[in-house]
Symmetry: C2
Amino acid sequence: MKLEKTYRPAPLAFERLPDEEARRRSLEFLELMSRRRSVRHFSSEPVPFELIENAVRTAGTAPSGANQQPWTFVVVSDPAVKEAIRQAAEQEEELLYRKRASDEYLEAIEPIGTDSIKPHITDAPYLIVVFEQPWSYAPDGRKHKHYYVRESVGIAVGFLLASLHAAGLATLTHSPSPWGSSRRSSTGPRTSGLSS
Amino acid sequence: MKLEKTYRPAPLAFERLPDEEARRRSLEFLELMSRRRSVRHFSSEPVPFELIENAVRTAGTAPSGANQQPWTFVVVSDPAVKEAIRQAAEQEEELLYRKRASDEYLEAIEPIGTDSIKPHITDAPYLIVVFEQPWSYAPDGRKHKHYYVRESVGIAVGFLLASLHAAGLATLTHSPSPWGSSRRSSTGPRTSGLSS
């Protein structure tokens, strides 16, 4: 969004942590995040929507180029929409695996053992579709270019994933080709077993 | 890095959280992250290196395209190196503000009130220089292309910033032009006052 001239920096509520407490929190966060895995097998059990909402709000606190917040998060839970997304993704991925992908790409993903069949897209209770906003309209109707869009959206997705993981949810970050500039995260309660 | 054929998925240590506990942790993380600000005024007080190390380790747990982990984090504390980086950044930014930047860009950053003078680069006890790895060498000496590099590095930087913030440190994410593909974070104890 275009910043208004009325923009004022937000006050910093700062509490200086004693070194020992800083170390404890830093280590605790490392231990939490070290337990995160990309998961491709999801339970379809419902998940409280509030967890998804909190994650999107957390993502929205990310820093961004010129504070333009060049992102849109769309949460999908409608089974019909999830099914349509799955079909589109599987179709694209089949073309990717069979035709479009270079040998080098196929070699890179080979150890992960993925293929074009994506039941997790319909199993997971929520898909979070992340869009980049390369530009926006200002109130005067002019188009405004956004800056450092992919970096900014990446950081916001980092915050999103960290929030969902902190809430005990499993996620998969997924960029099906040729949707190169979009990103999707499926999220749901983890199934027990292996991630891969 | 090129994945070895010996790659095996890491086991998922999973504990299913009761809804109330999930909500509590989700909200707690939102509240923590909502207090983060981009800060341009740093104290030069020393910061325990362990906090920086934990943050980089946390960043390294981020998901990435084909798990290629296409990032390098360089931590700078040497005053002479910080000074050299500051001089280079100020020189580039002066050219940016005076010559290179479009009116549209200058208008976008105008409300934030930044300029080409960057004392925070030498004040902050640490700079974390983040490099993208668009490709790497495999053990056989061939170049391997990396996939979804900017998205992956963005997510890792999101994890880095979340860790530093959890540890009570202030950060500034900074991409001086024309270092378009690099990212720097300064980090240090927050000064009291306003961020902007």
